[in-house]
């Protein structure tokens, strides 16, 4: 299964996903959506890791385990991110990061 596909395809896909995530983070102003874009980025990394694990180092699960840690951390990150967003929301009633700029310079 999947052996017919060159590794590069996975990596290109990962790269595209990564870049879409970054692009999204750059262009959207809703903090929650940026959070989602960050998840896309992490997914891209996971894809890379698992694919590389499968193709280059198939005898081990090192890449997969790293990926699992990323998943776990991503969950934690999401939790705290949502916490922060909600804190902001409660005070300001919005999550448009363009409007949050008390501090600058």
């Amino acid at each position: 299964m999947g052996a017919g596909i060159p590794l590069a395809y996975y990596l290109v896909l990962g790269t595209l996903l990564f870049c879409i995530g970054l692009w999204g983070a750059l262009t959207r102003t809703n903090a929650i959506r940026i959070l989602m874009c960050i998840e896309l980025v992490l997914n891209a990394v996971n894809l890379n890791l698992v694919a590389l694990n499968r193709y280059l180092d198939p005898g081990s699960v090192e890449g997969q385990i790293f990926g699992l840690f990323i998943i776990a951390i991503a969950a934690a990150e999401a939790a705290i991110g949502i916490g922060i967003v909600l804190m902001v929301v409660r005070r300001r009633g919005e999550v448009d990061i363009n409007k949050i700029r008390l501090m600058r310079g």
């Binding site: 299964m1 052996a3 596909i5 060159p6 590794l7 590069a8 996975y10 990596l11 790269t15 595209l16 996903l17 990564f18 879409i20 995530g21 692009w23 999204g24 750059l26 262009t27 809703n30 929650i32 959506r33 959070l35 989602m36 874009c37 998840e39 896309l40 997914n43 996971n46 894809l47 698992v50 193709y55 280059l56 180092d57 198939p58 005898g59 081990s60 699960v61 997969q64 699992l68 840690f69 998943i71 776990a72 951390i73 991503a74 969950a75 934690a76 990150e77 999401a78 939790a79 705290i80 949502i82 916490g83 967003v85 929301v89 009633g93 919005e94 999550v95 448009d96 008390l102 501090m103």
Partner: protein
């Protein structure tokens, strides 16, 4: 074209479409849904890569935890985007307007595009193999489980500490204060209470404080 290739193409399409719509959907709820789609596509890819355990855990955590939290947040935050669709413009018009605005348009495109090009060029040069250089671990659940609790036990503990920290943090940030709920401040500290003065200071400093 093998079945695997077709599967890959479909899954890749799903993932990319999902990712694209996560970014571009007008409504944030749609984004969340497309994010879920992406996750599922990703799981398919993992299965294609013969990592079923990973795929499973991926779906469990991402869909079961992350996505839930995100949706939860969307509901709680009640942002403007949630209040209904804006008048839909044709895609071409939207794209044109987007690309013309530098800050949210072409500059990010150029930057991420450049990044993509750099990565892709490097990937092309890497001489990556077309086929796996061996067979995958058969009992991946078992191996992962064993490794996780032996060799990787320290990182595992750290990760759990991270989760704990996230928990404390999330609670600490969002919890309503008792005093706040009471609507009054402790009398004895009112004088030296920073609550008043810092705010005043901050307000005063706002103009100069750039």
């Amino acid at each position: 074209m093998t079945g695997a290739a077709i599967a890959f193409a479909i899954l890749a399409g799903i993932v990319l479409l999902g990712a694209w719509r996560v970014v571009t959907s007008e409504q944030i709820t749609h984004s969340a849904l497309f994010l879920g789609l992406t996750f599922v596509g990703m799981a398919g890819l993992f299965i294609l890569l013969q990592a079923p355990t990973f795929a499973l855990l991926h779906v469990l955590v991402y869909v079961g935890a992350v996505l839930t939290v995100v949706v939860f947040a969307i509901m709680l935050s009640d942002p403007e985007e949630l209040r209904g669709p804006r008048p839909d413009q044709p895609l071409g018009e939207r794209l044109r307007r987007r690309l013309l605005s530098p800050y949210y348009g072409w500059i990010p495109v150029v930057v991420t595009g450049a990044l993509a090009v750099v990565i892709l060029v490097m990937l092309a040069r890497a001489g990556l193999p077309a086929v796996p250089q061996g067979e995958p671990v058969t009992d991946d659940l078992g191996v992962i489980g064993r490794e996780m609790f032996t060799r990787y036990s320290v990182p595992f503990e750290i990760a759990s500490a991270a989760l704990l920290a996230a928990l404390i943090g999330a609670i600490g940030l969002t919890r309503r204060d008792v005093r706040e709920a009471d609507g009054r401040r402790p009398a004895s500290r009112a004088a030296s209470e920073p609550g008043h003065q810092p705010q005043a200071r901050v307000a005063a400093g706002e103009e100069v404080d750039r």
